[in-house]
């Protein structure tokens, strides 16, 4: 069975792709153009015509917002995870702010900050903060009691906290990454003049359907590439965790 798996890993997606190509080529719907058309449009649009005008701005906003969120979340999450009173005091405020659905904040952000890049970065950062923050807190609280006691006895609690909570923090960072992409797209759809999200919505509005699909495809690829990058970083940083649990 082991030998079949690597083959399956490639075959299953290829099979699905083949199915899509076959079905879309034969169908007549305007909304589902043949896969070949989509790929052709993709090539014309994104390789590399609109990279500078749309992809780069999108990526810059995304990266800035995400990184700000992670740093803030860990910085806030560690003290909160450790200090019971602080956590209890901050809990309702954190829970409330986190509970506001980010799209609802978009009109607010527009009113307060405007429609520029800083609004988008701030919004992405705000949204990505919460999963990482909550996972950081969970990670801290879930540290093995023996490990925690040992660290206390030797006076190394501070040093041991972040690595011990790291696996859980990374789980949160992974969730936040997909949220970051979502928020990037939403903010570009509603209040932007460039970016991939903007492009996809514009295409739909002007009924440029293959272009719309090419944009969706690009967003999928982008998301995938980001996850790949994330996984590589995680693999490196959490090698010890994987090995210890192997």
């Amino acid at each position: 069975m082991r030998r079949v798996a690597p083959a399956l890993e490639v075959l299953v997606p290829l099979a699905l792709l083949g199915l899509w190509a076959a079905w879309s080529a034969s169908s007549d719907t305007f909304y589902y153009p043949p896969l070949t058309d989509i790929l052709e449009t993709f090539n014309e649009t994104w390789v590399f015509e609109r990279v500078g005008s749309d992809v780069v701005p999108s990526l810059l906003r995304l990266t800035a917002g995400y990184l700000i969120a992670v740093v803030l979340a860990v910085a806030i999450g560690i003290p909160l995870g450790l200090n019971r009173t602080a956590r209890r005091a901050a809990a309702p405020i954190v829970e409330f702010l986190r509970a506001i659905p980010p799209p609802a904040l978009l009109p607010l952000a527009i009113v307060v900050i405007g429609v520029g890049n800083s609004m988008k970065v701030a919004l992405i950062a705000f949204v990505c903060l919460w999963p990482v923050l909550l996972n950081t807190i969970d990670g801290i609280r879930g540290i093995d009691p023996t490990l925690r006691d040992t660290a206390r006895v030797y006076g190394v609690s501070r040093l041991a906290t972040l690595p011990a909570a790291a696996p859980q923090i990374f789980a949160g960072m992974r969730t936040s990454l997909s949220l970051a992409v979502i928020m990037m797209v939403i903010s570009e759809m509603v209040a932007s003049t460039n970016g991939i999200g903007f492009f996809v919505l514009q295409s739909q509005r002007s009924f440029a359907i293959p272009e719309m699909w090419s944009g969706i495809l690009l967003l999928g690829i982008l998301g995938y590439a980001l996850n790949l990058l994330f996984a590589a970083v995680e693999r490196r940083v959490l090698a010890w965790h994987r090995e210890a649990h192997a």
């Binding site: 093995d144 023996t146 490990l147 006691d149 040992t150 206390r152 006895v153 030797y154 006076g155 190394v156 040093l159 041991a160 690595p163 011990a164 790291a166 010890w240 965790h241 090995e243 210890a244 192997a246």
Partner: protein, 246 residues
């Protein structure tokens, strides 16, 4: 050097420790034995400062530098650090040279010099516990507290570790408080034995162990005095257990 004065500890309404009172002199090896669940671990944690006693106090002369070796060695070693870095971790405040020296000495003393750059998960249970012991030794504590440290290793390894602890005790001149449920072990290792009763625990008796040093796994255990002591402790504990049995 260490005085435990009328220590009691309750969790809410449940008393764990009733009234424990004993003293430990410098360089003494004192074992604490008692029936399972009598609160030996709680007692050790109170001494180490990890738990606050409900009443009574723990007095330690000097700087209060204590090291604690747990039974669950795998959960007390930092999985993201190598052996070398694990042992070095509590020594942050020292200079680089001193740190390296202490680590080398301690790891050599426990016989793990060849494994300095390995990770805990790469070592056997006995070896991991040696790392924990090395870490405690490198820390140069006034008192080494050990909570059933050899309970989770096989009998052969246990004998080796027992002899190891006697060796390092000679070499480092450290005071040891050793919690165990293994009566043979307590007689073999100690200068004095504190026998605890069942929960809520109190001190039933404190015995002196007048066996010659250096101890030997075969010769010491052949001595009639050894048998007498172990029988005495055994009967004491059994009698106490019977008293509270339903």
């Amino acid at each position: 050097m260490l005085e435990v004065r009328h220590l009691s500890k309750s969790y809410g309404d449940t008393p764990a420790i009733g009234d424990v009172d004993f003293a430990v002199a410098e360089r003494e090896f004192v074992s604490v034995v008692g029936p399972s669940g009598c609160g030996k671990t709680t007692l050790l944690k109170c001494i180490a400062g990890l738990l606050a006693p409900t009443s009574g106090e723990v007095k330690l002369e000097g700087d209060r530098v204590m090291a604690l070796v747990f039974q669950e060695y795998s959960r007390s070693l930092m999985p993201w650090l190598s052996v070398r870095k694990n042992v070095a971790l509590p020594l942050r405040r020292r200079s680089k040279e001193e740190r390296a020296r202490l680590v080398e000495e301690a790891v050599e003393a426990v016989g793990l010099r060849a494994h300095l750059d390995r990770y805990p998960w790469q070592l056997s249970g006995g070896m991991q516990q040696r790392v924990a012991i090395a870490r405690a030794l490198a820390y140069q504590p006034q008192i080494l507290l050990m909570d059933e440290p050899f309970a989770s290793v096989d009998a052969q390894t246990r004998a080796d570790l027992e002899d190891l602890i006697l060796e390092v005790r000679e070499r480092y001149d450290v005071t040891i408080v050793f919690v165990t449920h293994d009566i043979d072990e307590s007689v073999y290792l100690s200068d004095r034995i504190v026998v605890l009763g069942p929960s809520p625990t109190t001190v039933k008796e404190i015995l002196g162990v007048d066996l010659p040093r250096p101890r030997d796994q075969v010769e010491t255990k052949e001595l009639p005095e050894f048998a007498r002591l172990r029988a005495h402790v055994y009967r004491l504990i059994k009698r106490e257990e019977a008293r509270v049995a339903p």
